[in-house]
């Protein structure tokens, strides 16, 4: 049985990825950020023995270390990590001419960009012991510098571009140790990134999760060449 670690598993895409892995027979260690949101707890209860929920704030060194320790107490190895947790902001539309909010931009970067590094490092002793050594990162088209046509969204776009660069550099660093990476733009989903469910979006999280899991789990050219792909398999430029 393979073991996966999923960050931001509380709801939306993270919850659906966790569900999909459990239905495939995986053991899943699911990171929970929201104490008062119960969907993940209910899901874990239906897969007792294979689902472990751990408190996890990827923006906190201590929280990530504690979660890694809990993961190590329940598994000898982790085969696949899905870096899904991320935040957005209500201050997206600020412009440089009007004045940016730098504290907010630091908060976003600490979570969206550095969070992935924290979790990767903390789980390294477990992923080194795994057979699959797969790192999966949920990014965004907002991180594509070449395709960017936005006039605002500084903090979020900068954090996703940095996340993509982090993935590229970790791939260089870990590839020789047998690690492979998957980098995903999940599309515009009906999720809770803004705090409440975005019903105007195009895609349901469970539909994207199904496509994502095929991409995350299967073999592919990405084993040798790191690219960002979307839920439909399209490649995105950096």
């Amino acid at each position: 049985m393979h073991t996966a670690f999923v960050t931001g598993a509380d709801r939306g895409l993270g919850l659906e990825l966790t569900r999909g892995l459990l239905e495939r027979g995986w053991r899943v260690i699911a990171g929970r950020y929201l104490e008062n949101w119960h969907e993940l707890t209910e899901l874990a209860g239906r897969h007792e023995g294979r689902a472990v929920v751990v408190p996890l704030d990827i923006g906190s060194d201590r929280s990530v270390r504690d979660a890694a320790n809990l993961a190590g107490a329940s598994a000898d190895a982790i085969d696949l990590v899905i870096h899904n947790a991320a935040v957005s902001t209500s201050l997206k539309d600020l412009t440089i001419a009007g004045g940016l909010n730098y504290e907010d931009m630091i908060r976003i970067y600490n979570i969206n960009a550095i969070g992935m590094l924290r979790v990767t490092e903390a789980l390294l002793y477990l992923t080194d012991a795994g057979t699959m050594k797969r790192q999966c990162i949920v990014s965004s088209e907002a991180g594509s510098i070449e395709r960017c046509s936005r006039e605002a969204w500084y903090g979020y776009c900068m954090s996703k571009a940095a996340l993509n660069m982090g993935a590229v550099r970790l791939h260089e660093n870990l590839h020789a140790d047998g690690y492979t990476f998957r980098l995903l733009h999940p599309g515009w989903m009906k999720t809770y990134m803004s705090g409440s469910k975005n019903e105007e979006a195009e895609l349901e999280a469970d539909v994207v999760a199904e496509a994502a899991l095929r991409y995350f789990i299967g073999p592919g050219e990405e084993d040798h060449r790191l690219v960002m792909k979307d839920w439909a398999g399209g490649e995105w430029p950096w």
């Binding site: 970067y109 600490n110 590094l117 991180g143 605002a152 550099r169 970790l170």
Partner: protein, 229 residues
């Protein structure tokens, strides 16, 4: 190319120092702003620049602090009739070795310096650029390019530069219609002098300040080769 008014932020950068010296020798008015910890030592290197000393102004600031950045803007307003070009050369670099105890604090600090500080300073200086040639320039590093085949020990640094490049792209989208143009000069910090020979420095100084080229956004290295993001 006629002389103008340039503000250089991060003038302690070796390549920035060389560019300032060239521009000063060509009659530009240069406001050199130091953002490093060795502020006093950095400023003393500028004292033997020669040229018209009335055209060289210096100040030390903390680019992470809005009040400090505001003092830069106030000095610029007092010594320049306008700003034609801002060159941001702020550069903080630390290794990020995943297996050797990575410091997330360092990674965040690099973001604050390399990606956010340029935005803070440009935000403060923009009002003084409206009557100038509206050129915004950034010194960067090859490890900020996705296509660069190395840099694995500098993941945090590369991430901060990718963030900076994204911010430049967004700025070009929003300020381009107002006549602003953007240049990113990508150097190699692992080479002596950032790989900037005298010839390359002269070429770079002219490329950055070539206002006849109205291209919105260009990214080149010191050999005048285009560099992909």
């Amino acid at each position: 190319m006629s002389a103008g008014f340039v503000v250089v932020v991060g003038a302690e950068h070796k390549a920035a120092e060389r560019l300032c010296r060239l521009w000063l020798s060509e009659g530009w008015t240069v406001l050199a702003s130091f953002t490093g910890e060795g502020g006093g030592e950095d400023r003393s290197r500028y004292e033997d620049f020669g040229g018209d000393s009335r055209k060289l102004h210096t100040i030390a600031i903390d680019p992470r602090d809005s009040e400090s950045v505001q003092s830069l803007s106030e000095l610029a307003a007092s010594v320049m009739e306008r700003i034609d070009m801002v060159v941001v050369a702020i550069d903080r670099r630390r290794e990020t070795r995943l297996r050797d105890g990575m410091s997330c604090e360092d990674v965040l600090a690099m973001y604050e310096y390399n990606a956010l500080a340029p935005l803070r300073t440009i935000e403060a200086l923009l009002p003084l650029m409206e009557d100038g040639m509206k050129r915004l320039c950034f010194l960067s590093d090859v490890r900020g390019s996705f296509a660069a085949g190395h840099g694995s020990d500098y993941a945090g640094y590369g991430m901060s530069l990718a963030a900076k490049h994204m911010s430049v792209k967004i700025m070009s989208n929003s300020l381009g219609p107002r006549g602003y143009t953007f240049r990113i000069l990508t150097l190699n910090g692992e080479r002596e002098g950032f790989g900037l020979t005298e010839e390359a420095a002269l070429r770079a100084s002219r490329w950055l300040a070539d206002f006849t080229d109205e291209s919105l956004l260009k990214l080149e290295n010191e050999l005048a080769e285009p560099v992909p993001f």
